[in-house]
Point group: C2
Chain length 122, copies 2
């Protein structure tokens, strides 16, 4: 159980790091470590599929939010092949939103189907 939990925690860490990685090569490496080859992502504002599509999607999100980054909330909660976790979007003037992500985990431990929801900062 702790091996599984550590593994999914690492994958989620890579996933969140990808959203922050503005160096193209670094971001691509993180996308490949975080997502299965055929992974999909959808939230209220964007969607993408596959490593190419997901990398392009994240790069576009970064361009739309200069000076922003996300901070993990360290609340990864997994059971079976499912995981949830949240993060805070921080802009130049401080926290502006909380993202709550849900994912189905693929057989190799990477994220296969990610759904993002957004909440106001508490």
């Amino acid at each position: 159980m702790s091996t599984t939990t550590n593994s999914i925690t690492t994958v989620v860490g890579d996933y969140l790091a990808a959203w922050n990685a503005r160096d193209a090569g670094t971001r691509r490496g993180l996308v490949e470590r975080a997502f299965t080859d055929d992974a999909t992502y959808v939230d209220p504002h964007r969607s993408g599929a596959g490593h190419d599509g997901l990398d392009t999607m994240i790069a576009a999100a970064q361009e739309g939010l200069p000076g922003h980054h996300i901070e993990p909330n360290d609340d990864v909660d997994a059971h079976n092949d499912r995981v949830r976790f949240s993060w805070t979007l921080v802009g130049p003037d401080g926290p502006i939103a909380v993202g709550r992500d849900f994912a189905i985990v693929g057989a190799d431990g990477r994220l296969q189907d990610v759904t993002g929801f957004v909440d106001p900062v508490a």
Copy 2:
């Protein structure tokens, strides 16, 4: 958008009502209205698939929790073919847990893949 929202709200209402319905015929009708024919459900304690399997799973959960019911938290949040919502498990002495469910919605508007997570009462 409001039609979609109303529709998913109705489906989630039927889903939550199924967990409370201790009359077998009523429960089965709600299971059929809430879930696609091939739907799956998984949480940390149980899983089920298909109308028969889901009905049996819910009946077993009810038997294990006599005197308990769930109350919707009226926070259905949907986008694309995804939805999240929460509910409170209430026992004879009051609220004992909060369930947070995430689902993929099928083409006909019923729930196709439901994942349950459990949090302590705030």
